[in-house]
């Protein structure tokens, strides 16, 4: 009914409700692209900062056929994953140890909680003094970035296992390792996964940050830095698109993985 009322007006098509629901999300991106395209078509600006979309595409083709893009992407991803793997592994071990032992928690917990409050990038000057500007420094930094979310969430996950579950397991006469494997681990898994997921996001953020601040070698961050220093907008835009795409891909992989591992939970949560 309201559709009809709206369509009577001569400018009805400007009304927000005139666009079909499915297409609404595309309106803003389409308008932005149109604006960008129009800025060239009608020569609104002579600024060198305004590069045509086609130029970004050409740069992408040129860099990808020369292999420069792939070298950079490979270098970034490799150190991202190396740092992520080390940080996550150490985080899981430390988090599990702290979660299972009150004594260790008392010993290490306060120190860890204090260190956590130090803004991540503040470690970079120290790390660069100790490890230089190369891959070792970057991987060390990335491990640190991945370590904190994993350790905290693993600890939280283990500590928040309902005591009734453990009591029930004791009643069934489970041994300690059985309790760990069959009760504690499954109950703590969602929280552990949150930590790993955060670590993946943080590691990618930290990869970029480390590549900006420790400028040596190849990487997507270096591509962006190059573009910024020479005012090559096409490089910068291409870099940002790749950063976004990699972020999306990592997110997607992590969520698929999580859905698979936590499949057994699916129905019980869906019922609520």
């Amino acid at each position: 009914m309201s559709d009809i009322a709206v369509s009577r007006h001569p400018l009805w098509w400007l009304h927000p409700a005139a666009v079909p629901k499915r297409l609404r999300g595309w309106v803003i991106p389409a308008l932005l692209l149109l604006l960008w395209w129009a800025a060239f078509r009608f020569n609104w600006s002579d600024s060198a900062l305004l590069v045509p979309i086609s130029k970004v595409w050409q740069t992408a083709e040129r860099l990808s056929s020369s292999g420069e893009l792939w070298t950079a992407l490979y270098a970034s991803l490799r150190r991202d994953l190396a740092g992520f793997a080390i940080g996550t592994l150490v985080g899981l071990l430390v988090g599990a140890a702290l979660g299972l032992s009150r004594l260790l928690e008392g010993l290490v917990g306060p120190t860890l909680n204090t260190l956590k409050q130090i803004s991540l990038f503040a470690w970079i000057p120290l790390i660069s003094m100790w490890f230089g500007l190369g891959d070792a420094a970057k991987v060390a930094f990335l491990s640190l970035a991945a370590f904190f979310p994993v350790v905290l969430n693993t600890f939280e996950g283990i500590r928040s296992v309902p005591p009734e579950l453990i009591e029930a397991a004791r009643v069934f006469g489970y041994r300690r390792d059985q309790i760990l494997r069959r009760v504690v681990l499954p109950a703590a898994l969602p929280s552990i996964f949150t930590g790993v997921y955060l670590a993946l996001i943080y590691a990618w953020l930290a990869t970029l940050g480390a590549e900006y601040l420790l400028t040596s070698g190849a990487g997507i961050g270096n591509l962006l830095t190059d573009g910024r220093e020479h005012f090559w907008m096409d490089y910068v835009l291409l870099g940002i698109v790749i950063v976004g795409l990699v972020g999306f891909a990592l997110n997607w992989i992590a969520s698929r993985f999580e859905a698979r591992l936590l499949r057994w939970r699916g129905h019980s949560t869906a019922q609520f």
Binding site: L49, Q117, S119, L205, L208, L213
Partner: protein
């Protein structure tokens, strides 16, 4: 056995008021003692590390440029404090955080409110917002530098961006999770739109909103340090870059300590505020 039988009548005979305080003091002592013991355990590791640090320096395991003596760090900290450099740099960093948080929280609350309240606005804006929010703040910085230069505008813009996303997301989620019943009651009372927003939507979304604010300020702190390390001529991050360039690691360590302290204070302050807020909430319902 005989002891209990002789003593229990005595306890029963004495008035309850008298029997209680010793027990409570005992429990209080036990709890405080437990807390003190816990705090003491927590101090073991830092003290051990400090001892190792001092020991390593005394036996010259590493060069001073790589591991400055604890005493040197302490002296630098004191010198910087006495000359006022430390305070002025902290003040600059904090004012950047303050302004960016103010802008970012206002923008985030407005955007989140619009997304939560209007279905049409959500349909148009949410997909774009969702995609943009997936990009790490660090990714935007080269673009921001090209457009804004490396001045104060860059810092404010980058930090604001870090605040807007969590505040918007949490405000929106808080509104989306408002129980339908509350809105129905508001309709029954014939609240105007402004009244619904002011008396129902905002109070109900406040806890989520505040958790967004807390995340936002912590993100702001992270981005601030990054931006100051990347391009700055003042602020706590710059102090560290300066120390790094002079190969004076003691300045870098001082920077880390200060950043950690400010982080702890920010976190505690926000937690305290959040606790107050939730206390108010419990009292209200």
């Amino acid at each position: 056995m005989s002891v209990t039988t002789t003593e229990s009548p005595a306890v029963l005979a004495s008035p309850l008021q008298l029997a209680r305080p010793p027990q409570e003091t005992l429990r209080w002592l036990k709890e405080t003692g437990g807390r003190l013991a816990l705090a003491a355990t927590g101090l073991i590791l830092p003290l051990l590390l400090l001892g190792l640090w001092q020991y390593a320096v005394e036996h010259q395991w590493l060069a001073v440029q790589i591991l400055p003596p604890p005493q040197l760090v302490w002296e630098s900290l004191r010198d910087l404090w006495q000359s006022g450099d430390l305070q002025s740099n902290i003040q600059i960093s904090l004012s950047r955080i303050g302004w960016s948080s103010l802008i970012g929280i206002s923008a985030g609350v407005l955007l989140g409110l619009a997304l939560g309240v209007s279905r049409t606005f959500r349909a148009y804006v949410y997909p774009t917002f969702h995609v943009v929010s997936q990009f790490p703040v660090v990714g935007w910085i080269p673009l921001l530098i090209i457009f804004l230069g490396i001045g104060e505008a860059l810092k404010i813009a980058a930090i604001t961006l870090a605040v807007v996303v969590p505040v918007t997301v949490q405000t929106y989620k808080g509104i989306a999770n408002i129980p339908r019943v509350l809105l129905e009651v508001a309709r029954v009372y014939r609240y105007s739109f402004a009244q619904v927003i002011w008396r129902v939507v905002l109070p109900a979304a406040l806890p989520a909103l505040f958790s967004g604010v807390r995340q936002g300020v912590m993100q702001a702190w992270l981005s601030l340090v990054f931006v100051e390390l990347l391009a700055s001529s003042e602020g706590i991050g710059y102090l560290m870059v300066w120390g790094r360039q002079l190969l004076q690691l003691d300045l870098v360590v001082v920077g880390i300590i200060i950043i950690g302290l400010v982080g702890v204070v920010l976190d505690l302050a926000l937690r305290w505020l959040e606790g107050r807020l939730q206390g108010w909430r419990r009292a209200a319902f």
